[in-house]
Symmetry: C2
Subunit: 383 residues, 2 copies
């Protein structure tokens, strides 16, 4: 990144942690072997790979052989949906990958409330006798709202018990896309009570194009990519040794600093929020006030064109997103902001600020100043 | 790799070229942006990504927007089969990924001859009115035998013309898995006459877990991974910027040295072949004598246990494969060696030597000496 730039888009992409690159480096060069090769140096590489999976799994309270390594969250999500032959339930504020995967099945979209939160009771109402999968994100990628996954999991356990009691063998699994949240929230699979979890390395200072799907042992999936039978036959292709080793290191690092980094980013975020809402009393902060990722700030300046803001801010080196990174580039209005009922003129004036490793007290102060200037300039222009 | 090791398994994995790592490095750190983000530095990253695809495509005489970037050859192959609703034709010596993808459809396996070569006339005989896809590898991953793709392509063009004449709209495509061969053979898609090509970055000194599927514009595929709609909607998920930039650089590098490196490795291979067959008149070299990758030597020592050879050689730092890397680790006999009719006691004594960047005159001489010693020791042991 050019010196002087202020990056406030950690939810879209994170820079690779230097310690992660260092951990990966040997596997690019001297330890480049195919882990399926029979000679000892390759066997050692396979051991390192398995060890990395164990360490990665340990961060979420799971076992290495319960992970399927993928090329990212989108592939993981698609795999999570692969075993479904019946109905699925998800929400209307999920990431495109979940919505598109759900659209391949008979599905029901549970509606978010106006703070971007999904109610467990609403999920329960959407269940049908043939529902096989519920997929609810851990935290929303645009608003940062944290979902009540434990409540949903408890409700699903009850439904499973009822099915068992009536000797109904229809499976029912809960998948959560935890792409946003690792490093800020507890993602222990047992405590969450889920059956499948998607995690994305590229969002937590790990290498891009690496992800995982954790599944409980009971979950039955259908491989999307067949071949050599790697990853328990669920995802064929030579294993991603360097990527997995980097992913493991990155997850260990963000897990170790979860508490301090949550506090640090929350304090930066709260400061930015306070200053921006003081400067612009008409500004609207979206997302849940309490159940919100500590590093997220979704703020709307009614009647202002956020795209113009982004370009104005960029000339001052401040890099922020309008809505989600996925929707941003398509000139379409975010389905998430529509779902929470934000009026179009408010939605169109929305910035998503996401704090992280590159955020400091000093550059947050500067960024806020630039945002205030940019919004004022836009307001003046419209007079 | 430990100093002193002699690597003769370039067909299983190649070390990342230093120049490739250098090209990728900025995209790990300062240029880490999500290519879908709206601010200028991210837009520049998207431009670099598209530019890398253009350069990569140029190496095979294609256009960047005809490529779908994937996580490797296995994913590419699965995608190539995705559009098929009818019958497919492939051979009995393809890689597991092709065989498993074919097994999901009504399919016919054309038999290889005893040199590992597929005859275009045999492929023609296997065609049915409902055949939609023919998939034949560019070169065999165990024997190095180069397939007559141009002849097969010409035959398929004729069949397509016949279908057109009888107003039969059933599509018929030719896919080739060129995972082995780029850097040694001409992989110009127009000259080959194919409709789809799979290439694997990890086999050509590029980053692992990166591949591509090139498709002619007429080819219709069904996405396996849905979501944000990247890669023309055929493969969703944030683009692999660093991986694609590395892949492009690696492909440019091996394409530029194709002639000299082919000559160099052929000369090392021929020397090894001559010395080994002189030392062991009973040794059998498999694969086509003329149509063979210049860096491949598949040699069998009847009645010798190749696994014991691999372990004996490894203690002297010589790293070679028994059969293919994929079959090697499973304790099963290679389907390819069975297909070419190698008797079990010959097949079980097979080594695959694959030369490449790490091969030199000196270490080839040393490796041959170690192989001769190891085979002699095994022969003595059996007396």
């Amino acid at each position: 990144m050019a010196p002087g730039n202020i990056y406030l888009d950690h939810a879209a992409a994170t820079p690779l942690d230097e310690r992660v690159l260092e951990a990966m480096q040997p596997y690019f060069s001297e330890l480049f072997f195919n882990p399926s090769s029979p000679y000892q140096p390759a066997v050692a590489v396979r051991r390192d790979y398995e060890d990395a999976k164990d360490r990665l799994a340990h961060c979420i309270g799971a076992k290495g052989d319960e992970l399927v390594m993928t090329a990212g969250a989108t592939e993981s999500i698609n795999l999570a949906f692969s075993g479904v032959s019946g109905h699925v339930v998800t929400s209307n504020i999920e990431h495109d990958a979940v919505l598109k995967a759900a659209a391949c099945h008979d599905h029901t979209l549970v509606k978010s409330d106006e703070r971007g939160r999904i109610n467990a009771a609403d999920v329960q109402k959407a269940l049908r006798p043939d529902t096989q999968l519920v997929s609810i994100q851990l935290a929303n990628n645009e608003l940062g709202t944290i979902q009540p996954i434990r409540d949903i999991a408890a409700m699903i356990r009850e439904e499973r018990t009822r099915r068992l009691e009536r000797q109904d063998a229809t499976p029912l699994y809960l998948h959560t896309d935890a792409s946003q949240g690792v490093g800020y929230l507890d993602v222990n699979v047992a405590r969450l009570g889920v059956d499948m979890v998607t995690i994305n390395s590229g969002k937590l200072y790990g290498p891009k194009q690496v992800g995982l799907l954790w599944t409980a042992r009971s979950v039955k999936l259908i491989p999307q990519i067949v071949g050599g039978g790697q990853e328990r036959g669920l995802r064929s292709g030579t294993e991603n040794v360097a990527g997995t080793i980097g992913f493991a290191r990155a997850t260990e690092l963000v897990t170790a600093t979860q508490k301090s980094e949550s506090q640090r980013t929350a304090s930066l975020r709260d400061k930015a929020e306070k200053e921006l809402t003081s400067a612009f009393p008409s500004a609207m902060v979206s997302g849940h006030r309490k159940h919100r990722l500590p590093n997220f700030l979704h703020i709307s300046f009614p009647s202002i064109d956020a795209e113009r803001l982004v370009f104005a801010l960029e000339t001052n080196g401040v890099l922020v997103a309008t809505g989600s990174a996925c929707a941003a580039n398509k000139g379409t209005r975010s389905h998430i902001l529509a779902a929470i009922g934000l009026p179009p003129d408010v939605a169109d004036g929305s910035l998503r600020l996401s704090f992280g490793h590159l955020s400091t007290d000093e550059n947050t102060t500067q960024a806020v100043k630039h945002i205030i200037d940019a919004v004022r300039t836009e307001q003046e222009r419209q007079k």
